[in-house]
Every structure is written in structure tokens, then in C-alpha cells.
Symmetry: C2
Subunit: 351 residues, 2 copies
DNA sequence: TTGAAAGCGCTAACAG
DNA sequence: CTGTTAGCGCTTTCAA
């Protein structure tokens, strides 16, 4: 690569981005190929509507010139950015890894880019991010949204939205259904002789939190077992420590934590406080995250096909996008079943 | 849920995005404020270059109309997207959480959006993602890139890039420096009576892998200790199982794993194979990830301020962007020191 | 300090 | 099947 053309003193570096050689445009290709710019455009966006020979010629020239369509310029007139925003409340929660990966893969497969933002458990940050990305994406996947129902409806009015782990009329959603798996949890604990279950609650705005608690309370009632609720606690290992202390104060023998982070935090705190798991207290957590299988002791969890949930959410979103363009594939929502995965943190009730 | 509004036959849904009321533009504001569109534009991008009174008036009108600048339209003429791409080789590796969060926070603080992509340990996917995002972002942060030096140089020629955990002349980078912490590892193991250390290698294209192995070999030599290398292994818990088996075959008494995922996988495999840690074999891993503190036994690790590394990488990138616009704050690179965090996976050499 | 005008690179009618 | 022509919403000279 020759360093600099000695003939040109100052030029070559005009424009605002000095070292970036100004990229090949549709016009460069058109000129070099001896066709109109619109033909080049069509060749790329609607190949079947241009003569096979000219099309191949255009592609050849474009390839030779290293032409790459500018996604921004493409998005402006069409309104379509082929970008999807994925909002999660806590990017450091391993629960979201698989969700993110599933969503990313499904989106990539469809030619979409996903921009990921961390809302840090704050409804305000979440709303602000939506606002900021509004015109830069084709739609939003709100995962475990902390926004109010009304705020979500509002957003869904003038944006394409799919929800994850949240149910709301008229807004498509992909959720992990914990109804049956929670029943399994209750029966598992009941069979071990537990007469009372303490739920360590997560964030109030979390739909999953309510869903899980309701399922637990109902199943417990059906089995004639007491169900208590403590919290809410921050959905992290730190929150788990607080939750453990609270449950000790309450004399719990079996706790079911809002999520595995809280459960793992509780496990650690129980150990510090001299409570043996599962001899003194049994611990169950939702979400079979990384680490749940090697905690001390390994954690009994409710496992959901979360990568599939991520995929489904993207499908729901793309379905709506297609519907807007007249496509038929639009679904109201999906619920994927989860199941109990028994490990060593649950055992017979004490006494 | 009412199925369909019976009152509206077909209308209400015109344009390509039916239910989206066409958003307020700069022209709407201009008209309503009785000024030229360019004045509205200036008011938002260069406030000090428009009369204070008109500026306030424009803002008032814009606020009343709910005007939001369209980032795409803004990016087209200016070439600036205020978006940064962050590429990581494995989004499910907890190591990257804090990196991502640090980068995200620093970027947001500067008004930038980050798009995150998972390259799944593949140089091809990585190169492809760069290519695809080329014109949609202002710059790239390549974290633990799996690309070759020459490919990275090539990319850095016509893109703004910052590297994480990779050193390369002329390309700014933020790295966790493991030189001193690796010396600490060697001295720690030596003081426990180990005479030989086995390194469980990570991906060949990983700079960290080479960096760590070199540091280990050098420190071992200085202490008159043997250093062996096994691998490469896939940088995951699965790779760790293979690594454990290999090290058992080799009779290792002290292993240092490329990363904590491999170390945790090895821990599990050692347990399955009846090897006690640390009585039979000591285990150390790089990266003090989520889970390292509650594995069985808790893992001795090399901990780095990885969130700060993420921040630094963004700073490096923004520094270059500013330099392109004439700003001075441009730095070649930063190296943040890491340190040994001793837990229970290391102990006296057997015999 | 402000307005008019010319694009940024691409898409999408509309003719031909 | 292909070319011409208008923009998409905004920025940015250039004059006034």
C-alpha cells in the first residue's frame, strides 16, 4: 500500500473524517457499471426486478469497488433500520446471558442487529433508553421490564414492542411459565415434610415476581401448606444476604427465592450464620443460571428454556414488523414451560 | 381483549408504519416557531450560535410539539452516529459482564449508544460483524479479539478502534496487566512447595493467553520452577474438563488455567475423577468472575479491575474521535494492574 | 444572527 | 427492465 500520493499536497484528506477514505457509494458503482444509481439500488434490495445480466455486472463492479451499502442512508428513506433494541434490567445477571444470546442469534439470522442496553433496575432509565432509541430501531424487546403497565401500553402505541417475562393485553410477549414448575416445587418440599414455605420476594415492578408468588401461594394452599412472603429484596446476591437474615428471624425451614442470585446470596449468608443447608433450611431459586450447579450446596432451581424465550421474543417482534408490511405471521404471545431441577439445597424438614 | 375496533374499516393506517403517527420534524418546529429549519437545527447542535431569545423560543415550541431529533437523519450528513460497537468473543462468559457494564456506562455518560455483538470465538464472525457495522457506528471496541494482528491493523486503517486485552502497535488499547500478578501466583505456589506449574492454555489467537503464558514461564524460570503448557482448550467449563483430564495424565500438582471458566470446569472434573483440591492438586484461574468465590472449593484467582478496563477502552475511543475533530485527549493505551486473590483452591504441594 | 440551498447515500414512485 | 426524479430529516456552507 503506497503511503501517500506525493502529487497531492493537502487533498486526499478532505471531509470531516481525515483518515477514512471516503467510501464507495451507489453512484460510484453506477458510474463504473454504466447504469443508473437506482438500478444499483434495486440490484441490492430487489434483485429479481433487474435483468440477470445487468444484475451480475453490477455485483461484479460493486465487488471490485468494495461497495458496502450504508445502513443509515438506507434507513432514512425506508424508515427501516434492521435494528432491534433489547432492554434488560441487569446485564450482570447471568440469567440474561442466554436470553441475550438467543435473541442475538435469532435477530442475526434475520439480518437484524441488536443494540443492548442495561436499565439497571430503573424504570426511569428504561423509559429514557426507549426514548433515546425510538427512531434508531425498528422495535423494542423489553425483558423483565420494570415499567408500569400503562407506560408500556403507551410505548407500544407508537413503537413495535415485544415483552419478555411480562404479560399485558395487546402486547405480544414471550414468558417462561412457572405455574406448573412452581407446583412441582411445592410438591417437592411438601414430600420432604415441609409445612411452610417462605417466598423471598423480588422487585415489586417485576411481573415474574408476582407471577411466581401467586403460583406459589395457590399451590401451597392446594396442598394445605402455609406460604409466607418476605421482602422485596434487591434481586442480587446482596439482596440474598438480607433475605436470608429475614428468613432466619422468621424461623423459615424452606425458602423459595425470587431468583437464583438471591438464592445464592442466601446460601452464602446461611453458611455465615451457621445455618446448614439443607439440614436446617431448604433453598430453592428460580432461573437455573451459571453457578447454580456448583454453589455450596448445588442449588435446586426452576429451569426455563430461556434462550428459546429470547428467540421467541424476536420472532414476535419480527412478526409484527412483517404484519406492518402485510405479512401474516403475527402471534399474540408464547409461554414456554419450565421445570424443577432438584439438586442438593433441598432436603427433609428439620425435627 | 376486544378483537378489532368495529368502527374503523380501513383508514387510520396509512403510510408504511400504520400506527405510528408521523413524527415531528425540524420543519414542523420551524414552521410553528416562525424560523428557518436551519435555525432549529443550530439551536440543537450549536446553541451558542443562535440568539438566546430565539433559541429559547425554539426549545419551547419543540417541547410543546414533542420534537425528537432523528438520530439517523442526523448521522447521514454529519457522518457521526454517536454509536459505538463493542465486540466480545463470548457473551455468556461472566468475565465480560463488568467489561460491558463499564463500557456501557462510560459511553452513556458521553451520550453514546453501544451496540454489543457476540462473535462466538470466531474470527470470521468478528470480521463479518465489523464489516456489517462499519458505517453504522463511529468506532469499534474489540474485546479479546480473535483476529490476527494484520487483520486488526487493516480494520484500524479505515475505522476508529480501541482494543481490550490486546496489544498492538499504533492501535490504542486497554489491558489488564498480568505480569506482576502472575509473579504473585508463581511465588504463592512456590511458597506452598510446588516445583512445577502446568498452564492450561486458552485460544491460540488470544493475546491474553500468550501474555499469561509468557509471564508464567518467565516468573517460573526466575524461581527455578518448571512450567509446562497443555492445550489449547476451549475457554469454557467444558474446556476445563478436558484440561483437567490432560493435567491428570501429566501428573500435575499445580495448574493455572487460562481463565476462571476453565478453572471451574477443571474443579468439577477433578472432583469427578476423585482428585481432591487443593490436597492433590492446586488450581488457579485468571479473571475473578461471578461464581469464583462460591465454587467448591472457592477459587484462587487473578483479579483485574475489568469494569475500569471497559471504561478506559471507551475513553480511548472517544479520545480518538475527538482527535479527529481536533481535540487533544488522545492516549496510546492503558494497562491496569491485576492482583492475586487467594482462596481455597490452592494449598501445599502433595507428599 | 439568520435564511436559502445544497447535499449525505439511499429508496421508491413514475415514466418510458 | 431501467432511468429520472423526488425526497427521507438533518447539517452545513454561503450570503445576506
Amino acid at each position: 500500500v503506497p503511503d501517500v500520493d506525493p502529487g497531492s499536497a493537502a487533498p486526499l484528506r478532505r471531509g470531516r473524517r481525515q483518515r477514512l477514505s471516503s467510501p464507495t457509494t451507489i453512484h460510484d458503482v453506477a458510474r463504473a457499471a454504466g447504469v443508473a444509481a437506482s438500478t444499483v439500488s434495486r440490484a441490492f434490495t430487489n434483485p429479481q426486478r433487474v435483468n440477470a445480466r445487468t444484475r451480475e455486472h453490477v455485483f461484479a463492479v460493486a465487488g471490485r469497488l468494495g461497495y458496502r451499502p450504508n445502513p443509515l442512508a438506507r434507513a432514512l428513506p425506508s424508515g427501516r433500520t434492521t435494528t432491534i433494541a433489547l432492554l434488560v434490567p441487569d446485564i450482570t445477571n447471568p440469567f440474561f446471558f442466554d436470553l441475550i444470546r438467543g435473541a442475538e442469534r435469532q435477530a442475526s439470522a434475520a439480518g437484524y442487529t441488536v443494540v443492548l442496553t442495561d436499565t439497571e433496575e430503573s424504570p426511569e432509565v428504561e423509559a429514557h433508553n426507549v426514548d433515546r432509541l425510538r427512531r434508531a430501531v425498528d422495535g423494542f424487546v423489553l425483558a423483565s421490564s420494570r415499567l408500569s403497565d400503562s407506560r408500556i401500553r403507551e410505548i407500544a402505541t407508537d413503537n413495535v414492542v415485544a415483552l419478555v417475562n411480562r404479560r399485558l393485553d395487546d402486547v405480544p410477549s414471550a414468558v417462561a411459565d412457572n405455574t406448573d414448575s412452581t407446583r412441582q416445587v411445592v410438591e417437592h418440599l411438601a414430600s420432604l415434610g415441609h409445612r411452610s414455605i417462605t417466598y423471598l420476594a423480588g422487585p415489586r415492578p417485576s411481573w415474574s415476581n408476582t407471577h411466581r408468588w401467586n403460583a406459589l401461594r395457590d399451590a401451597a394452599k392446594r396442598h394445605g401448606i402455609a406460604a409466607e412472603r418476605l421482602g422485596p429484596f434487591h434481586p442480587s446476591v446482596h439482596g440474598g444476604a438480607a433475605a436470608a437474615d429475614a428468613s432466619i428471624g422468621q424461623g423459615a425451614t424452606a425458602v423459595v427465592a425470587f431468583n437464583a442470585l438471591v438464592a445464592i446470596g442466601a446460601l452464602q449468608r446461611f453458611a455465615e450464620r451457621g445455618k446448614r443447608v439443607p439440614q436446617d433450611v431448604s433453598v430453592v431459586g428460580y432461573d437455573d443460571i451459571f453457578g447454580a450447579d456448583f454453589s455450596s450446596p448445588p442449588l435446586t432451581t426452576v429451569a426455563a428454556p430461556i434462550q428459546d424465550v429470547g428467540r421467541a421474543a424476536i420472532d414476535l417482534l419480527l412478526g409484527q414488523l412483517d404484519r406492518e408490511r402485510g405479512g401474516p405471521n403475527y402471534r399474540r404471545g408464547v409461554a414456554l414451560a419450565s421445570h424443577l431441577r432438584i439438586r442438593q439445597s433441598t432436603g427433609p424438614a428439620p425435627h
